[in-house]
């Protein structure tokens, strides 16, 4: 099993999907437990990966490579390095926990869990795939279950949210397909192998004169391809101005799906940029990511924070806070410093755990009160003290309070940003203040103040809900104190990535 560990992690949930489909339709508990069992082995293997990952090796590990369609040089090629390991761990963890967060689904249970497991396979596949074709297949495989999960099990405006998500992402991915083909046809011999394409990245022209996209291998060509890939990924991040699908999708999606969406799917955007744009088109990256990506990230931080401040719906607030926090990732990536890029990838991981908690917490209160109006609550701390305690951890982590994980990654990003663009660093740091503003204000309105008589008898958070939250809370605290638990995994690969781009920075 350890030889093909990544394949097992990817396809075990799919095997679980087949089992779930064969189970009788009305045995809800069988279906739920079967799904939990299908996501457990990937989690165990993730722990094993964590223990056995060679931290000093910047290259790929646990590689599997088989020919798939030899005539077109398409391979089944998977492997991980420091860029993807943290995302693989996060995916395994969140998928497992979200099965338990989905326990309350009582409509079309079989379909829900089957689609969820298919989604799990798609997500894991995206992070481990190293063949461009395989990457694209997994990227798209993820779309379909997401469409149905939002569209069937979502809130009142689910149809609109689902199709909007689908159309936005499809546009991005078809653009990406064109870019993939363009890269394929400039490689020699034609290949979809990412490592091979990276090795050939030096062949693109460096003259800044010919901005003519139809000139193969020229300067213009690689910039146009870079932008096409970037737009595909930016829609996923979601970077301004492609972010508008996110609040809709988040608000309408069921709790567990929101967690997956924010915790894993958004990371695919930034992961894709790091995995593909940076090493494959280093010169274009140096021209376009420097300043542009940093400024876009800063704008995301501030814009997202202001939007979050204006929200009346608790879930929409968390959704906009994701837009804001993903801004730190972009800002950190754009600095090309050790601190910045490590901070960015750590922020991807931390945002996954923290926002996962936030959405789970919103789900807890929504299940009880059946609404999410921030103004509609008050004094919950007195009614549900345990719940409030967990919420406080998540909120403070999201705010960047020292001692919790969010702080470390944001500080690293800002440290990196200070070395390259001081103005953006100051603006980005002001985002922390804005975040504190909207989160503290929310705590005040929802948890403190006079008790709302309507909700006096709300039951306390139950064991199953705590079970989904506590592991994430523990990780948040551990990484706040000892961030090297994750940073060690990332460093060598990310430093190598930086070195590819830095020579091209003018």
């Amino acid at each position: 099993m350890t030889e093909n560990v990544l394949s097992w992690m990817t396809f075990f949930p799919m095997a679980g999907m087949i089992v779930v489909l064969l189970l009788p339709r009305d045995r809800y508990n069988w279906i739920r437990w079967a799904s939990a069992l299908a996501t457990l082995p990937p989690l165990i293997l993730a722990v094993w990966l964590y223990a056995n990952f060679d931290r000093a090796n910047p290259g790929l590990q646990f590689v599997e490579k088989y020919p798939w369609i030899p005539a077109y040089n398409i391979q089944y090629f998977v492997g991980i390095d420091g860029i993807s390991i943290s995302m693989v761990l996060l995916t395994a963890l969140l998928s497992f926990l979200c099965i338990f967060a989905s326990w309350g689904i009582d409509k079309g249970v079989k379909g829900y869990f089957a689609l969820f497991l298919l989604l799990d396979t798609g997500m894991m596949g995206v992070f481990v795939a190293l063949d461009f074709f395989l990457f694209y297949i997994f990227w798209e495989v993820m779309l379909l279950p997401m469409y149905f999960l939002i569209g069937i099990w979502g809130g009142p405006r689910r149809e609109y949210a689902a199709i909007k998500f689908f159309l936005y992402t499809l546009f991005g991915s078809v653009l990406m397909l064109i870019a993939i083909l363009a890269l394929y046809f400039t490689s020699e011999p034609y290949t979809f192998d990412m490592t091979e394409l990276i090795a050939q990245s030096s062949k693109y022209g460096t003259s800044a004169l010919a901005f003519w996209p139809f000139d193969r291998l020229g300067w213009g060509f690689q910039h146009v391809v870079w932008m096409a890939l970037f737009i595909g990924f930016a829609i996923k991040i979601p970077a301004f101005p492609f972010h508008t699908w996110l609040p809709d999708a988040h608000v309408e999606a069921p709790t567990a799906i929101s967690v997956i969406l924010a915790g894993v799917l958004l990371k695919m955007g930034t992961y894709g940029i790091l995995r593909i744009n940076y090493p494959m088109l280093p010169e274009a990256t140096a021209d376009l990511a420097y300043y542009f990506l940093g400024a876009l990230g800063t704008w995301n931080i501030i814009y997202g924070a202001f939007c979050a401040m204006a929200q009346k719906d608790l879930k929409k607030l968390v959704a906009y806070s994701s837009v804001s926090h993903m801004g730190y990732v972009m800002l950190g990536m754009a600095t090309f410093t050790t601190q910045g890029i490590n901070g960015a990838v750590l922020q991807m991981f931390n945002h996954g755990t923290i926002t996962g908690m936030l959405f789970l917490l919103v789900g807890v209160i929504y299940d009880r009160a059946h609404h999410r109006d921030i103004e509609g609550f008050g004094g919950l701390a007195a009614i549900m003290p345990v719940y409030t305690g967990v919420t406080a951890v998540a909120f403070f982590a999201s705010m960047g309070l020292p001692g919790l994980s969010g702080f470390i990654s944001e500080v690293l990003v800002l440290l990196g940003a200070w070395q390259k663009y001081a103005v953006l660093c100051i603006l980005g740091a002001s985002g922390v203040v804005l975040t504190a503003g909207y989160l503290l204000w929310t705590i005040q309105r929802v948890y403190l103040g006079p008790i709302n008589e309507k909700y006096k008898s709300l039951p306390e958070i139950n064991g199953r809900e705590l079970f989904t939250l506590v592991p994430l809370g523990i990780i948040v605290i551990i990484l706040g104190v000892y961030p090297h638990a994750v940073l060690d995994l990332l460093r060598s690969s990310l430093d190598q990535l930086n070195e590819i781009v830095i020579p091209h920075l003018s």
Binding site: I69, P70, A71, Y136, I137, E140, V141, L143, L144, Y147, F148, G151, I152, R158, E159, A162, I163, F166, L167, L170, F171, V174, L175, L177, I178, L181, A182, Y184, F185, P213, F214, R216
Partner: protein
């Protein structure tokens, strides 16, 4: 190889078997009570002919019947496609209520005759033969379209089809007469020699090509010769619509490729085709391709009748297929052949679900699909979703691979504008395909919506088609090898 009439018969047995089957059905129709036997006979005949076609692979390519038709891999490929279309449509007709109410003997006879016409369309090497085969397919299609007695829509559709078809083939034969006037021959090889060695007047040659494209384009359904298709698709019995959408389209593609590639272009090194310089028909087709896909998709957005929607979607797909032709490269042509097979599978699948729903509800409107997944028809609904997403071009389904090869050919030859137009169209098409999926899954049924039951026959066909759609999305190696081998034109 250039054979006379009698020697040719040795290589003519797929056609002979099909003709024999047709005659046998006519005879047995007079005798047999149960008409189901006729359908089974039609299936058996097509299977036998299919076997015979595969048997011919590997023989020396050459001319048959004094250079009237060609035997080569390309023609064999399209024979296989036409037979598969006929076979699957007969199978589909077995489980279709509409068909059970009509004269089945004649129906199967004409259906197979149409398939026979497609054989000749794919293999004709002479303008006269091309015209005759095209007319054979057209006339049988008119009859099939108007097959529903006392149904005004069906009759209206047949009349419209007839009028448009008459105009289109008239235009085409006028164009052919120009070519004959300029070259003095109807034979493709002769035309090729005359055009490349002589000094044809470019403008008049271009006009002749545009006229000829009218006839071919009316079969493939590209703009501006598409006007008949929505009405005909909606009015015709659903299996006939399915047959027209895949069969005629494929045969039209075949005849177009045969004339415009080996006959009036030259193969250069690296798989590129050179057209007669100054006669800019590829650019004309390029514009037609972009307009066709855009118009098809935009018109499909607001359709309420599913057959009409699939008609517009078929127009859009004709545009995609043209993408592979305008790049003037063997990669593009191979992509077209692959797409033809994939489109056959997924489009027939979509029409099969239309048949299943119409059997129970008698309706073809999107409203009839409301909450289909929750009305005891979860499997047809899931299969329909597979076919529709495959038509959109989402992995891991066959339609994606088809589109992938088309895009690949377009990008390789540097037609970036075309690629961008095609991307935008893919996104537009997702909207209406997903709209149907939304109706089936996201909407819940009203109490008035009847449950949709499945018959064993239909479920089996549905299973085969959806399994193939997924299979060719995951492992298409053998299929692409077959289609690549099929791109062998014989000309001398």
């Amino acid at each position: 190889m250039d054979l006379g009439n009698l020697e040719s018969l040795k290589f003519f047995y797929p056609e002979a078997i099909l003709s024999g089957t047709i005659l046998l059905i006519i005879l047995l129709d007079l005798v047999l009570r149960s008409k189901k036997g006729l359908a089974l006979l039609a299936i058996a005949g097509s299977l036998l002919s299919l076997w015979a076609t595969f048997d011919l692979y590997g023989t020396t390519p050459g001319y048959l019947f004094h250079r009237m038709i060609i035997l080569d891999n390309f023609s064999l490929f399209f024979k296989v496609v036409s037979l598969l279309a006929a076979l699957l449509v007969v199978w589909m007709s077995l489980g279709c209520r509409e068909i059970r109410e009509i004269q089945q003997g004649e129906y199967y006879t004409i259906l197979l005759t149409s398939a026979l016409g497609m054989f000749f369309m794919a293999s004709s090497s002479n303008l006269l033969m091309a015209y005759l085969s095209l007319e054979l397919v057209s006339i049988t299609s008119y009859i099939l379209t108007g097959f529903l007695p006392h149904n005004r829509r069906s009759t209206e559709a047949a009349l419209k089809y007839l009028i448009y078809g008459g105009v289109a083939s008239g235009t085409m034969i006028y164009g052919m007469s120009w070519v004959f006037g300029m070259t003095g021959t109807l034979d493709y090889a002769g035309i090729s020699t005359a055009l490349f060695q002589g000094q044809p007047n470019r403008l008049s040659l271009f006009m002749a090509f545009v006229f000829i494209l009218a006839g071919f384009g009316y079969k493939i359904v590209f703009v501006p010769f598409h006007m008949w298709s929505p009405d005909v698709y909606q009015g015709a019995p659903t299996p006939v619509t399915a047959f027209l959408s895949v069969g005629s389209n494929a045969a039209g593609t075949a005849i177009l490729m045969r004339f415009f590639f080996p006959a009036v272009s030259r193969l250069a090194d690296g798989g590129d085709w050179l057209f007669i310089s100054g006669v800019e028909w590829p650019h004309f087709l390029l514009i037609v391709s972009m307009v066709t896909m855009t118009l098809g998709n935009l018109c499909a957005l607001n359709q309420q009748n599913l057959k009409r929607l699939l008609a517009y979607s078929g127009i859009a797909h004709a545009g995609y297929i043209l993408m592979g032709l305008v790049v003037l490269n063997n990669d593009g042509l191979k992509a077209v052949l692959f797409y033809v097979v994939v489109y056959l599978i997924m489009n027939l699948g979509a029409f099969l679900v239309v048949v299943m729903v119409a059997n129970e509800t008698g309706k073809e409107e999107i409203g009839a699909y409301r909450g289909l997944a929750w009305r005891g028809a979860a499997i047809p609904a899931v299969c329909m979703a597979i076919f529709l997403f495959s038509l959109t071009g989402l992995p891991p389904l066959a339609g994606f691979i088809g589109k992938f090869f088309l895009f690949a050919a377009v990008i390789k030859e540097g037609f970036y504008l075309l690629a961008v137009v095609a991307i935008i169209n893919t996104v537009i098409s997702l909207y209406y395909y997903a709209g149907i999926v939304k109706t089936m899954f996201l909407d819940f049924p009203e109490p008035t919506d009847q449950p949709v039951a499945m018959t064993a026959n239909n479920s089996l066909l549905l299973g085969v088609l959806s399994a193939l759609t997924v299979l060719f999305g995951l492992y298409w190696g053998p299929l692409v090898q077959y289609t690549n081998q099929s791109l062998r034109f014989f000309i001398k």
